[in-house]
Symmetry: C2
Subunit: 258 residues, 2 copies
């Protein structure tokens, strides 16, 4: 029995010192041997960016002296962290990769912009069962306590059952008290998009610049969606795939004169 305890890789996109990842490390230390490889600075909105035209630094650090996990701080994106962890740092393929806990929602279309989920997807492409966790609270002082029991439960079930090939999980947790959370719902991604407004300003040298602002628009009233679950007090679990083929559309396009 060389590997009695599961090997769990942890990363995130808010940076290695963010409260969300510290909570996730604490929880995972009770379930397995933990190795943390996380960005040295916040990487929100990085999507599935990777570092191909620049150097990568990745150094062992010790954030908390009294905790058992190995920790590495990496200059790259969340997807870079997974690549370097799997190929340079870990001696064997991890049994699980968990990413987060993100400070802010990755429900609905947010999944495509999410560094947290890109790390989970990257691990998925390497054949590693993988889960991204997000709390619907952008604050650095977010209360992660109500999330803890659900995260532990989902990770335990994932370690027990595994995940279908080509599938990772996108877990979002509503910003409500432990008592108010009604349970967990397996959902589909709600059909929504961002409606942008740009805040146009002029810099001290007279040059115009913009801040990206915007609001999320949910066009999807389905009760089987992550948005519905979160609005109604449930933790949402969406199985996410990285085969992006719209299989249903192949027939349509085959009718074109190509």
């Amino acid at each position: 029995m060389p590997h009695k305890k599961p090997l769990i890789l942890i990363t995130n996109d808010d940076g290695i010192n963010a409260p969300g990842i510290r909570t996730l490390i604490k929880l995972m230390n009770t379930l397995g041997d933990v190795c943390v490889v996380a960005p040295d600075s916040p990487q929100s909105g990085m999507g599935h960016a990777i570092t191909i035209n620049d150097t990568l630094y990745c150094e062992r650090i010790k954030v908390a002296e009294d905790q058992p996990q190995e920790e590495y701080s990496c200059s790259g994106t969340p997807a870079d962290c997974v690549k370097i962890a799997v190929n340079e740092i870990l001696k064997r393929k991890p049994d699980l990769c968990v990413s987060g806990i993100n400070h802010g929602s990755n429900s609905s279309i947010n999944v495509i912009y999410s560094g947290t989920m890109s790390a989970a997807v990257e691990a998925g492409t390497q054949g590693i069962p993988s889960i991204g966790f997000s709390l619907l609270d952008y604050s650095l002082e977010a209360n992660f306590k109500p999330s803890e029991k659900y995260i532990t439960q989902i990770v335990e079930e994932c370690l027990k059952n595994g995940l279908p090939a080509g599938v990772v999980l996108n877990v979002n947790i509503p910003k409500i008290s432990e008592k108010e959370i009604k349970g967990i719902k397996v959902c589909r991604q709600a059909n929504g998009h961002w409606s942008e407004e740009f805040d146009k300003r002029t810099n001290p040298l007279g040059r115009d610049y913009y801040w990206l602002t915007g609001k999320f628009v949910n066009e999807d009233k389905g009760e089987d969606t992550d948005e519905w679950a979160l609005e109604n007090g449930y933790v949402s679990v969406v199985p996410v795939q990285f085969d992006l083929t719209a299989h249903h559309a192949i027939k349509d396009i085959n009718n074109w004169e190509l």
Copy 2:
């Protein structure tokens, strides 16, 4: 008849001066009114990154005096370019967004790392029919001539037929001569992944750093895939969706004890 000619938005991830986008502009000028909003510098491997913690510049420039298109150079990512084009620059929603021609492949799993495709997907989320084009040649001196007739044909068909909601196209073109290209195949995304190797070096100050290198591994021998089409002399067209839900996995996960 206020809009006789279609309004076509063009962007890319190799930057506004790359030969690939200049070819695409030339072709689109024969099909519609063209507005270019593209990154001021190369953005390869940016995935669906967006700029949320930094300012965005976006300025009108004139690259080619003798051409009719409007052009804007943007400091952001490909996804930023689409957002700012649609919400700040264009007076109406474009009839089509085309991204590319990328210098290098975006077939198979490369789609998730691709700035070219993230721009197309971003436009898709805004309800705009959208296509990303890539040539399997990373060179700045790539020969885009054999691509031209296929790009024109695909764009004409897309303008005529539209695209199903939630679907954009990922078009890849093999690096072979016009005579050798056998035609166009509508495909699914091949199941492949990147196997990384990190090139570890030491900088002049004695600190270790890494270059990300790796090779693409195609596990998928299916003859209905983009990889098969490209290897066999076809232009590949994959319909891509941004509903990432693995619908087939919902039942599995519902069997967990959650």
